[in-house]
Amino acid sequence: MNRTLYGNLIFELSKRGRKGYSLPQDYDRTHTTAELPASLRRKDVARLPECDELTVVRHYTNLSHNNFGVNDGFYPLGSCTMKYNPVINEEIAAMKTFASLHPLQSAETCQGALEIYYNLQQSLAELAGLSEFTLNPCAGAHGELTGLMIIRAYHEANGEVRTKVLIPDSAHGTNPASAAVCGLEVVEVKSLPDGTVDVEHLRQLLDEMGPQVAAMMMTNPNTLGIFEPCVLEITDMVHKAGGLMYYDGANLNALLGECRPGDMGFDVMHINLHKTFSTPHGGGGPGSGPVGVRKGLEQFLPTPHVVLEKDETGESRYAVACDAVKQSSQQQGVSQSSLGSVGSFFGNFGVMLKAYAYILSLGREYIKQVGPLATLNANYIKESLRDDYLLPITGLCKHEVVFDGLRDKSTGVTTMDVAKRLLDYGYHAPTIYFPLLFHESLMIEPTENESKETIDAFIDVMHRIAEEAKSDPEMVKSAPHNTPIGRVDDVLAAKHPILTYWQAEADKG
């Protein structure tokens, strides 16, 4: 992109008197906002840009050229499951009938939409091995929070005060953050040198504080891409202490076809539709983070919820339940109360359409191949790069592999440098400096959609960078060289925050 011509902010392209819209002019003008008292009106006109249509189109088209998406190239961003976002799903989600549905129109007028909503709830329950799902949460972290609310509501209903949540030290940052927002206290469970949960430490913690433990949150495969070998023992121990097991679905992709969270003993979980079920990440949303529960916890799910009921004539119809979801098994002493609501309406319905289209496209035949193929791709990369990159955990990995930087540390070339150099070669960088267990974490997740040729080419480039680190370390340390901009000054941004065009203008003085 030509930065001189096209690097402006939209405000800098604005000129008084231009416009980019056209609205009908024939309407009843009996009333105008001039009727409103001045005390209710804004003093100055909002300084929104004034641009003709082509200027706007060109500006944002050019901006898009400065972005890199899955459609542009290999995106091995660990833990983010950057799989292909099928185009047909976009076509379906954009159908006019869906786009023009008002969330408060009666269930009778949108049975088709409710059928999709209901079927997605049911499909996820089957895929997870759980009883019931809510589709209300809008993102993974939102799902975690909702799941923890369910857990707290369950303990409250049992008349128990349990305030602690056990979280492995290798967990994503959202886990402890969600727990804190939900009013829970975080207790870290140590990892063994191989990155898996230290079961002895867990036992100690449960001995110490068992009756206060509300839940344990786990990601499995964990953030190192390792399947927790003691998972059944762990879920059993926590259950015996009266706590519930929460499954963070961030890494669910690895297990599709092979293993279900419900069968491992998890009680509550979230799924990131934007990871495992192929909906686009959109540069950071909108996502969708449905939450599932095992039998006996359904009544705590948030509302609204979509149910299938029979009317007087015995005919099935879909309905919106705004009160507690019906219990499938009546439990003594447990109240029927939903935790409340976690969003304005039903969640990101537009995203759900794409996820359901994906499930139908793959069907029972191909969904089960997702985990195995993603896992094969990751293990293939692991074996192919271990000569040049330090592999701290050598066993089988699942859908992703974590290296601890370059094997040869003498060059001074860091994981950050490797990541930035990858951009020069036309790849997105892997996730870096996470998990925190290693100093130079480089986390690669290839997904099932990548071909052997794509992966081989990536492996070649990774080897080439390892060579460059030896032959020309300065060049690698100053990468990237071929991107629209060079390395940015993060410190300046944080020390002297300029967060709007208006602040930038004021700053010019």
Binding site: H31, F68, N71, C138, A180, F346, W502
Partner: protein, 465 residues
């Protein structure tokens, strides 16, 4: 362990025809598989799962429909969107979701895969597109609300309000409660109450009087002290434009925060949250031309004063320079966030609704300074015209006489409202939202033509009470 799956997944009544062994999203040929397995040192893909305990293995097929070809998938969704399954109605409903004009440019550009298929912009060098538009979005939200700064977006208006409630509570030193106006959308209040219950924020409801906040009660509560913040809505749930003069000073005198949930579309005309003295403005951005899509995705916005910058939840983009001296944008102030601060973060929010923030940014670029005002004028004019006509029909009465409103209003109807709404539905109209046994709330946007307004009046006028 789960017993027999009782989930009833109604399979599309179409036969899957997806061809032979390979699948369009999986590039692996048999030869690829063999070579890769050899490199890894196992003989089958299932050996890669040998570390999973036998008891946790899933040993059967999923109880799901068979794979559908693209042709059948289209047919399936076409069936579900056929009028007898899903009805497109002429929309006079609002209550937090509005049928505004969506310029074709917006839909076209947000479908660009460089925006659609990218992740959160961690790698600034290849994410300037996303970072650049978020900076523009933040600038536009700041300008509309009159506040200094904005974050990169939230999930929706309700969760943004809940985040503001927690922000006010965590900001307060000696507060005993947070005040929320009863005139805030009950759906938003329910989310605030839910978050507050678990986060440990005592919420006190300030009742409504003739459709607006009971100032007498509010003033008493503020005088009593210990208030972490006050949350109100503008226009309020019933569409009324309230006068919030004086609230900010009283809240600030006890170091509390004044939070206004405002409809951003109306801010082209209405007094800004900053002008009312608010510290935080939040709300739902769906009204900025985002299709209704059964209520989501929309986008929550959140703006605040510079003083609160480090307490703001969510992503924030800042301007900086690159090592070539060029202007560049980057995610900043990350020390507030979960991936750095873990349980001490200002919020657990991680991803937000970035693509919908792009939607809003392009919408506001297209509509611009004059267009957003025109939309507001047309909506205002249409709503007032409809209200006049319905009152003139003699079948409806103002629910809140004398209250100023923008593009949404409540009317009382003596007859059976459900019947009235059903008749309208049969004629293809969504005639509003029932907000009380005899109270109907109607919204009008610039999308509603004078003919539609007249026809709705005619339909409603013909219903026997």
């Amino acid at each position: 362990m789960k017993e027999k799956q009782d989930a009833k997944v109604t399979a599309p009544s179409l036969t899957g025809r997806v061809g032979g062994g390979s699948f369009k999203y999986f590039p692996h040929t048999e030869e690829d598989l063999q070579e890769m397995l050899k490199t890894v040192g196992v003989s089958s893909v299932h050996d890669l799962f040998a570390d999973i305990p036998e008891a946790a293995r899933f040993g059967r097929d999923y109880n799901l429909p068979q794979a559908l070809s693209e042709t059948d998938l289209r047919l399936f969704f076409e069936q579900l969107t056929a009028p007898f399954n899903t009805q497109q109605l002429i929309c006079f409903a609002g209550a937090g979701c509005y049928d505004h004009y969506a310029p074709s440019v917006v839909q076209n550009i947000i479908q660009r895969s460089e925006f659609l298929t990218s992740y959160t912009p961690y790698q600034a060098e290849i994410s300037q597109g996303t970072l650049h538009y978020i900076f523009e979005y933040q600038s536009m939200i700041a300008e509309l609300t009159g506040l200094d700064i904005s974050n990169a977006s939230m999930y929706d208006g309700a969760t943004a309000t809940a985040e503001a409630a927690m922000m006010a509570w965590d900001n307060a030193k000696k507060a005993t409660r947070l005040l929320v106006a009863e005139t805030v959308d009950p759906k938003v209040r329910r989310v605030v109450d839910t978050y507050a219950h678990f986060h440990g924020v005592p919420i006190q409801l300030i009742p409504a009087k003739n459709g607006s906040l009971d100032r007498e009660v509010l003033d008493q509560e503020l005088a009593a002290g210990g208030v972490a913040g006050v949350i109100v809505q503008q226009p309020n749930y019933f569409g009324i434009i309230e006068d919030y003069t004086g609230i900010a000073d009283a809240v600030h005198s006890q170091k509390g925060l004044f939070v206004i949930n405002a409809n951003p579309s109306d801010l082209a005309i209405l007094k800004t949250p900053a002008e009312w003295g608010a510290d935080v403005a939040v709300g739902e951005g769906q009204s900025l031309g985002i299709p209704m899509t059964y209520g989501g995705p929309g986008v929550g916005y959140m703006a605040c004063t510079e003083k609160l910058m480090r307490k703001l939840p969510g992503r924030i983009v800042g301007q900086t320079l690159d090592n070539r001296g060029q202007r560049a944008f980057v995610l900043t102030l990350q020390a507030r966030e979960q991936h750095i601060r873990r349980q001490k973060a200002t919020s657990n929010i991680c991803s937000n609704q970035s693509l919908m923030a792009l939607y809003v940014t392009i919408y506001l670029s297209i509509m611009g300074r004059e267009g957003l005002r025109e939309v507001a004028e047309m909506s205002y004019a249409g709503a007032h015209s409809l209200r006049d006509k319905l009152i003139a029909s003699g079948k409806f009465k103002d629910t809140f006489p004398g209250q100023p409103f923008f593009n949404e209003f409540c009317l009382d109807y003596d007859g059976d409202l459900d019947t009235l709404l059903e008749v309208a539905t049969e004629c293809g109209y969504l005639a509003g939202v029932k907000v009380g046994e005899h109270t109907l709330m109607l919204a009008v946007t610039e999308q509603r033509t004078p003919e539609e307004i007249d026809e709705l009046c005619e339909i409603l006028g013909k219903v026997n009470q």
